[in-house]
Assembly symmetry: C2
Homo-oligomer: 532 residues x 2
Amino acid sequence: MNSINRRDALKLGATASLAALAPAVSAAAAPAMAAKHDSVPQWEVFEASFAGPSAGNPFVDVSFSAVFTQGNRSVEAHGFYDGSGTYKLRFMPDATGEWSYRTASSAPELSGKTGTFACTAAPAGVHGPVRVASSHHFAYADGTPFYPFGTTCYAWIHQSDELQKETLESLRTGPFNKIRMCVFPKSYQYNHNEPAVYPFERDAAGKSDFTKLNPAFFAHVEERIADLRKMNIEADLIVFHPYDRWGYAAMGAENDDRYLRYLVARLSAYRNIWWSMANEWDLIRSKSAQDFDRYFRIVEKEDPAGHLRSVHYSHTMYDYSRAWITHASLQTYAFDQTASWLAAWNKPICFDEVQYEGNLNSRWGNLSGEEMARRFWLGVIAGAYVTHGETMLDPEKPFDESANPTLWWAHGGKLHGTSPARIAFLRKLVEETAAPGGPGAKRFGLDAAVPAGYYMNALAQDATGRAPGAILYFMDYHQPLYYDFPLPEGTWKAELIDPWAMTVTPLEGTFKTKSRIKLAGRAYQALRFRKI
Amino acid sequence: MNSINRRDALKLGATASLAALAPAVSAAAAPAMAAKHDSVPQWEVFEASFAGPSAGNPFVDVSFSAVFTQGNRSVEAHGFYDGSGTYKLRFMPDATGEWSYRTASSAPELSGKTGTFACTAAPAGVHGPVRVASSHHFAYADGTPFYPFGTTCYAWIHQSDELQKETLESLRTGPFNKIRMCVFPKSYQYNHNEPAVYPFERDAAGKSDFTKLNPAFFAHVEERIADLRKMNIEADLIVFHPYDRWGYAAMGAENDDRYLRYLVARLSAYRNIWWSMANEWDLIRSKSAQDFDRYFRIVEKEDPAGHLRSVHYSHTMYDYSRAWITHASLQTYAFDQTASWLAAWNKPICFDEVQYEGNLNSRWGNLSGEEMARRFWLGVIAGAYVTHGETMLDPEKPFDESANPTLWWAHGGKLHGTSPARIAFLRKLVEETAAPGGPGAKRFGLDAAVPAGYYMNALAQDATGRAPGAILYFMDYHQPLYYDFPLPEGTWKAELIDPWAMTVTPLEGTFKTKSRIKLAGRAYQALRFRKI
């Protein structure tokens, strides 16, 4: 599956780049004219540029939006000021066929502009934005299941160009299809560098004017999001975070909201965006849960694509039952609570911070690779999804933070750990086992039809759609010499799996409930059953 | 420490046997006379036999007790009917010097008997019964700390003589100083054999008369308790349990209470008794928590030695805050809750069932040896105590329960697992690290003076008695390349410990807070610090 995804991603990359760049070029050629594209593929970015006022503070003074129409259907998208008197509109058409639009603005020269374009079929390998599916899972808009196997590189887009390229190369060859990353630069232990560009205008003394956004900064963010899109990697974009020495964490409600609206206007046409409203929201002292409620309502209202929305915590959970939360984004490794949380929230669960593989001094950053891989298995078996992170110091270098080590978790770069290969193995197992056709028809996850057993997950349903068709077992630290597998009705084939050695060994014969199977008699083994 | 204990135990064994046997011999010689011993060592068994009524049902009809007096102090001890018209009194003197006693009975011929004996100093290696010390820990009556490293052989005394001898030999050479064992035989998965003797009289059809106890059965129980006493192993004696096909779990309150009083009268003079009122009390359908409350009140009132009292559960915890509970006996491996439970109950905590090392089909019985050893470390580091169990099938034999495998957890026999050697290693570390003089003076356990860190335990206090003197760290699945150990004030020596390889490697130099120490960079390592 991975190699196919890679090929699709490469093909897609070319298409997507053309689609994203073409409007900008045409706008540059005719800045005051409404753009006219003959066609934009489904789930790619339609963009049009317009000349407008540059006096005063356009970010504050000028409103600009458009209504996109197809038949009786209308969708509102906000435009944004891109500097130098240029205003842009972006829109991700989600249905093929003819679309038209008409602008509205507080500036007469931006009002009443109209245009049309045809939305053509999506290229092969493009499945649209990710949505919630079957309550507890995810699928692309076209129904293709999406199983998040994420990683974390909080500040990778604020490192040197060379390091960013290295990160992209690691992501291209790595096992991850989602990345947690911050919009704002990061100030924290091991994170002391200044970004190359800043999100707001600064005076000579370095004081930011939070009313004046810096289009170059956001153009860089979107370039990286487009890079990820080429590789079919979802950008779990962190809007606010507490690791800050520039003031971005405490700009005040008016500036927060303007920044947030600007992000939505610029980025929501990228199909691979997930809105993570904060990392560790409860550590941002200047913001309350009520502030986050307001942010979510803004995004719900202004994001025409309806991207996924969540928020990550440190100690105090945000209330994931709230209507505007699409999925839980947890910092915990209490996988045994998954079932009760799924029942309580009826939403997918991403264990987005389960500590990191590494060898740091801090205990959040020094898991063994075995333990990180184990946590992926525990999360998947529980019916949830898990996110990786890596904080590996080079053992040959002195233990000195001032040496500014490059740590994947913050800076990106290269992966050094032993867990990514095992995560790739698990992802492949899940993707090849889960039934095609989308989780709507073939559910992935815990299934009440499967007899209870805490290290088991029904990965797919059978042809009837009403009974399990594939089951994955993980034995964790248990080492039974044999096990009476409580298989549901039917005849099953079985494979012994070694999650660490990454081997799959088919067992001879077929099995029915209660099938007694001799096992390796050692811990950390798994089995896969598939219904014949 | 272990080898010294062994030697002491052997020396003690000879003494204890003499003390236990001598009165029985003298009683046999003069059954109707009050016994007169010149001397009994402290914490050994004084026993006297008397002839009394044998008609009717002496267990029901005859009351018999004595008051033991030393100076102004009086202690009541109940006697018991030992069959064939013989009544016995047992008493464990807890203070040296002259003692006298006077009997009372509903039978005139057992009333008003008197006698005296001298209680001499305890032999070397005899420290008395175990008590709670420093709220959360244990010590023998003479103040010597006792750190429970227990095991589980529920039904070992109901197996063949040969197997019982093998069990005793395994215990003699093993790392354990406490054993959980049932009075009643056990009927459960893998436990299908009949005992050689039964606790109550049975008719030809096998129906028990619960009003008539079988002295031979209880003589066998006490013989095994004496065997354990020789080896300085505490008998955590399980009074009731649900694994029953003979009716012992549902005898009714009157028979329960009579049986319990009989046990107390016969056994409380054995210093190595702990009363475990049940295994999985909540699975005994015929008994309520109120029944257990009553049992505890009976034992509190009638046990002159005041042995430790607890009860073990399956799903529903007994309320360990109740006044008559001396320590918690948990079935869980939620070690991270230890601190809150210690605070809530202010009593020692024994994690008495944390699943078993083994390879059974059932997940309670198939932990890897690594995981069992890890659980001991986690428990000790949390400031609690942990109990071992082993359920290893012979991998060379067919997986067939009807083959009646010998499993340590139920039957005793030989230990096959990999954890006991590591438990011995940890026990040695704890015993040699904890300061001498008893936990009253030198606390073993979590200490508020030590900066927080969840894998750390202050094992002893320094010479001032007010600050930590030794600290044990366990890194679990963390693999820091270095760690800034937050040592309390003072200068410290350090050793790297590999809990699985069982190595202790002294580090060069001395350390002060915050001492940065380079580590192995792999998981499951430990460190010990000792203040200079």
